[in-house]
Structures are given as structure tokens and as C-alpha cells.
Symmetry: C2
Subunit: 115 residues, 2 copies
DNA sequence: GTGACGCATCGACGTTCGTCAATATCATTC
DNA sequence: GAATGATATTGACGAACGTCGATGCGTCAC
């Protein structure tokens, strides 16, 4: 529910192919923002854990042990992933469920190698 | 000529899909290393400039003006891209030519969205 | 060999990042 | 409403990053 619209319009601006013409500043920034979010091993791992979970969602309690980090640290990484638009956060009762924003990874992949 | 083998074997280790099972530490680190290299707007732009150049190669002198950075700074960013295995550096006479390592972007894209 | 040129390295700087312990917030249960 | 449990926020710390000016190192032309 709380996909922060950090990118003005992710579907449009996020995915100008890197290999098709020189990117302008905003395109390069939008891409770099998402790649930077993926630039930490723990965040990559967190993302894969979510993707591998049944229902493609997980709460912090499921994430804290596999990466071997403190709960606040995991919470911090998840915030970054949400702010980057890669992950969505949904509060259900006491738990916060995180899921990968549909299509984002495909869009990013498309920016790296069109079709 | 100087593709640093920062990744033990890039073609094998670099591209375990993020969405297919939990990544182990080395897989996550290998991916994060490349994504981190893409986590700066100027480096994304540099990459796109190289890709857009004829022959898919460029020297620092071609790169310094479009990004509006100093020559040492561009040189530093290029070093990071080379160390990440994304770009190859070839010295020809006085000039150093940079080109995107063939297949790397496709592999990275494959790690984000298999197929 | 002397000069000019292209690029890398070095040293420094302010900024951002990753991490934790401590604490706050919010929803549930009693 | 008090207690409990799951997350988020704060504050602090060292490490890493992005940038620049100054300098060093090959290469080419004369």
C-alpha cells in the first residue's frame, strides 16, 4: 500500500534503456536510485528471500534471521527498498508484510538489456 | 584487455536469479558489487554514453564533457566500472578506450528477471 | 631529449552509508 | 487501561563514497 512514489512515474521514467542513446540526467538518476538500492549484499538477499517466500511476501520477523542482522538494521534496509520503489509494504495487524512491486524487476532488466 | 576478474568467474557466479530461491552470501555479494557500480547517476550516464558511441567504445576525453565532471573524477568512475566487470579498458597509443563487456548487461538483466 | 598531451594516482575534504543499542510507536490481548 | 509483541525511529560510530586540485607516468611529435 505504501509504494512511495519516489520516481515521479516509475513506469515511464525508470526504464530508459542504458544501451539506447545517452540518458539525460533524470533518467540516469532514476535508474541509479534503484541500482543503488540493490548495491548492498544484504538487500539483494532480502529481496531474494521475499521472492522465494510463499505468496512472495514476508515480514521482518522472517527476514531478520537469514541475513544475520539486527531487527532495526533489517527495518532500515527494508525502508530503503521501499523508498526505491522495489518493495511494497503492507501493514496487516501487528505485522508488516513486504512484497516485491510487480513488474519492477522486469522493467529494470529491460533497462539493462532491451528485449 | 584489462577486464579485472573481480568476480571469480563472472559468467557463472554473477547471475543467479534474484527471484529463484534464496541467494547465498557469495551470490548476493557478486550481484551487489555490480549493482553498486550502477548506483551512481554519473556512472549510469557514462555507461550509456559508451553504449551510444560508434564502435561502442569511448575514451575519457569523450566522456568528461557530457557528464560535467573533472577528468580525474571520470577516471575514477571508469576504474570502478572496470573493477565491477562492467567495462573493459584497452590502451591504444595515448588513448584509453572503454567498452562495455559483452553480455554483462544481459546477464545482469537475467538475474533480475529470468528468461 | 624536450615539449605537449591523455590519463592515472594521490591526498584531502565533506557527505553518505551500514550497523548497532536504546527507545518510541502502534496494534493486540487480557 | 496495562502489558505484550512486532516494527519503526533515533543517535551514534567508523567505513566507504564522490569530488576536486595537484602531481606522476607513458606516449607521441618535433
Amino acid at each position: 500500500m505504501t509504494v512511495l512514489p519516489v520516481l515521479p512515474s516509475a513506469a515511464v521514467a525508470c526504464c530508459s534503456p542504458v544501451t539506447a542513446g545517452v540518458l539525460d540526467d533524470s533518467q540516469a538518476e532514476a535508474l541509479a536510485r534503484m541500482f543503488k538500492a540493490l548495491g548492498d549484499p544484504n538487500r539483494v538477499k532480502l529481496l531474494s528471500i521475499i521472492a522465494a517466500s510463499e505468496g512472495q511476501e514476508a515480514c521482518v520477523c522472517d527476514l531478520t534471521e537469514p541475513v544475520g542482522l539486527t531487527q532495526p538494521t533489517v527495518s532500515h534496509h527494508m525502508k530503503l527498498l521501499v523508498e526505491a520503489g522495489l518493495v511494497a509494504r503492507e501493514q496487516r495487524g501487528r505485522w508488516a508484510y513486504f512484497s516485491i512491486v510487480p513488474g519492477v524487476l522486469d522493467s529494470l532488466a529491460g533497462a539493462l538489456s532491451p528485449r
